[in-house]
Symmetry: C2
Subunit: 570 residues, 2 copies
Amino acid sequence: MASRYTIGLDYGTNSVRALIARVADGEEIATSVCEYRHGDHGVIGDPNDPNLARQHPQDYLDGTEHAIRNAIATARKRDEFEVDSVVGIGVDTTGSTPLPVDRGGAPLAFSEEFAGNAAALAWLWKDHTAVAEAEEITAAARESHPEYLKKYGGAYSSEWYWSKILHCARQEPVVSRAAYTWLEIAEWIPAQLCGTTYPDHIKRSICAAGHKAMFHPDWGGYPDPFFLGALHPDLARVRRTLPTTCHSVRQLAGHLSPSWARRTELSVGIPVTVGALDAHLGGVGAGIRPGVMVKTIGTSTCDVLVRPAGEPVPEIPGLCGIVPDSIVPGTTGLEAGQSAVGDVFNWFVNYMKPGGDQLGSHSVLTNRAAELTPGSSGLLALDWLNGNRSILVDPRLTGMIIGLNLHTRPEEIYRALIEATAFGARVIMERMLEYRIPVEEIVTCGGIANKNPLLMQIYADVLNRPLKVSRSEQTAALGSAIAAAVAAGPQAGGRQDFSSAIEAMTGTQKREYHPSPGHVETYDRLYHLYKAAHDAFGGVTPNADFSRTMKALAEIRTQTRTSNRPQNRE
Amino acid sequence: MASRYTIGLDYGTNSVRALIARVADGEEIATSVCEYRHGDHGVIGDPNDPNLARQHPQDYLDGTEHAIRNAIATARKRDEFEVDSVVGIGVDTTGSTPLPVDRGGAPLAFSEEFAGNAAALAWLWKDHTAVAEAEEITAAARESHPEYLKKYGGAYSSEWYWSKILHCARQEPVVSRAAYTWLEIAEWIPAQLCGTTYPDHIKRSICAAGHKAMFHPDWGGYPDPFFLGALHPDLARVRRTLPTTCHSVRQLAGHLSPSWARRTELSVGIPVTVGALDAHLGGVGAGIRPGVMVKTIGTSTCDVLVRPAGEPVPEIPGLCGIVPDSIVPGTTGLEAGQSAVGDVFNWFVNYMKPGGDQLGSHSVLTNRAAELTPGSSGLLALDWLNGNRSILVDPRLTGMIIGLNLHTRPEEIYRALIEATAFGARVIMERMLEYRIPVEEIVTCGGIANKNPLLMQIYADVLNRPLKVSRSEQTAALGSAIAAAVAAGPQAGGRQDFSSAIEAMTGTQKREYHPSPGHVETYDRLYHLYKAAHDAFGGVTPNADFSRTMKALAEIRTQTRTSNRPQNRE
């Protein structure tokens, strides 16, 4: 029998990727990326409000067509490939990225009335306009439904579904009233591919709903309409449009519509899975299983783990969501994350533009930072330039740098920023371990995991753990393709279940990063200084003693420089 | 009678300036600057040790000759000027900048044996290699002579005389043993001009000794030889070379030697005053009198005040020295300072080189920073990139920036750094007021006071005081010329005393900076956040609550942006 393939569609912050993977072994025979056309690389901002980040839904549709067609064109260069050997489509997206639609399911952004109104666009995951509303929802839940918060680490985020809808209701009532309901793009896009337009017919994603919209079986699904209505009547109205059941990627959103089959050249009627969030399907593409933590390290970082179904998972303060079936159907998904990682380095390079025009690239800064030893700069940073997701769940926190002197160089700050994100990663891991979630193996993926050995080595040193790297560089798209293979099922040349699909279709690279003992010790000392600042500025400890912090950094710096001096002078 | 003139020689960090001033009214008829030739603009560093900063004494001599000859050449363009109408020379220098000399008075740096040995050079004021020794001296004094510390704000600095000599004794014993004594360059240079070489004949400066070398009449002059000997035998040996009396700028170092008269074209035998520190004679050139605080704002800032002789001055924690006759003979001098101000901005421009090659100049950053409103960046910085002189007296403290986000721009950081130095200035002023030292008027001088209206306005807003600017842009050199006029005396066409000389020869500019009420209030809120961080990281308060700091900055930012929005949208 000829090889079978599936397509994974991965809708990122700036572009959509189509990946064609072989069901037999996960080989990625073709991939194509189409950048969104609107805004700044797909992100529509507001110069007066740095918190605003939106996307135009037309970009998703146009990008889908181009990415799939280009991927097919590439795949066709292989003799073995034929378009009708593609047996399914899986979809992952950013999230929470909710989109307001009218009663017929059309995005308000497509209507003439709301053209140019940013509230009618998709509210991108990193939109932070709803900070006040997130606090309001958190306060209301603390009062009447504390159980809602326990699954979300104790605070509801400004990045999530209900915060954004409430902000729209308050600030843009005309858009809010015109919205029949709000769909996550993980729900809207697969429905589009299947020709499902009427909102009540669109399957909601357990991954998006569970991790972002307070959906949980413990309280019968989405939150209590009275709870929502007390926040704003529009929320109660949206609540009434939501179903009692959500769906995992094990379920089908439907089958490819004739019109999308024409647009893409794919076969009519092949299965399209329900969508899920990119980092969750990235976990699948990186080979997640109980005991393995998958870290997707990119502009932000998402950490996912799964626990076997039936095993009780404690409520862990600061985790972003503990949701059955959200990552691998049949297991319980746990998610944590850092709201800015690559974005922190991008800020330094793109906003600070340090070092004049010669020095200011990631590669030059990385090369120079790699020549430094841990602790030698005397710097310590807090990585909260986009707030803190885990474990503080507080978008109002900001970045900090301690230890500057008149000789501090850009590469020293660059390295301190990398180290700060590594310390942030360690806080998350330690929180997991504290609650007895085993972390036996760490598999990394994402752009940075593949491109930045310096960062990877620093992470291994700071976490004091070996780090593996996923074989696939497009784990989210591969995870979607795996979901599509399971959706197609063995009869159509797909897969029986997730565990066999993951085992066959994923793997890790030969190259691993191992902690270097000398670095581990220095980073341990720096981590304790980081943790003290983390707890004090993050509001965990109301009384902090910083009288020795700067001197401790200076001592580490002196010791590092002294212990390295003999080598330098040889 | 034809006009009489004096020359003020001002030895700065990078160059020496010669200023020819008219005794009648202080008019500056000629000035010339000669940059030092060694090292990086006169500063000899060590790539392996950012704390090291030395100078070659030959630069002082060569610079003197060139600067005086060029100034005379300029002055000669005026018909009224004749070289023999120059009736005296005054000298001010950086300090503490001690120089090791042999028994004959020759700098060790001039000997073949020590050529290339950095320890044999002059140890520039900002050399911070002696941090450990400063702590050792502080600890020893706390134990056996607490009175020594009370005049120095409770801690002896790494920048000062005995710390540097002790560091040399420990780290470079051969140089230390070869040094018969150590002279401040404020002592060595005037002696050179007078042909005085033998060290025991060189008059020591009360200004340098009193503010930097623990000299005070309360304990009979320099510190107890047993105290010094317990630290290191070499210190006791140097102590034996020191006189019981030091001299103010009211006294003569001597008269211009024939050889220097030939080198400079000046008349043989004109009086040369004892030298003093630049910021102190800068106070004189800016018109200091009781009630006036003179702030010299340059790479660092020095604040000087005088109190009438006989008035008891309390011991003020954190002040760098309270010394009779040190600024204006006949009054008590008080000195405080910030160890980096312009150097902080220079660090940002020269080390960070932000904004690529287009944005990274002081002028572009200043223009952009001027468009921002107080509090709008959400940033708060600690200005300790070169440690903290007043009021914490701790060179191990470092700089800090809080409130970074993914949209923080270079000009926002630049402004936050300016604001941080303004908050540091306010801490000093408030400490003065707390101890009932009246500050009725503030006169500023120095390069930054004359060149940076943005900084001046921010200082006026943060201090909530009007700021005057000295009429002279070379107050230190003018102060030296004033001292020379007093030294020459009325018979030679000079001046009777300092108060009449200061009144006749100094003044302020028409332009003054007045606090703007809206800014004062915002800066008041930011100052309290600064002071909390200052006290916590500076070791004043061992228990600090930072749980609200980042949110408070975000609130100020939001309020500032909201209150400015209507204007922007009109």
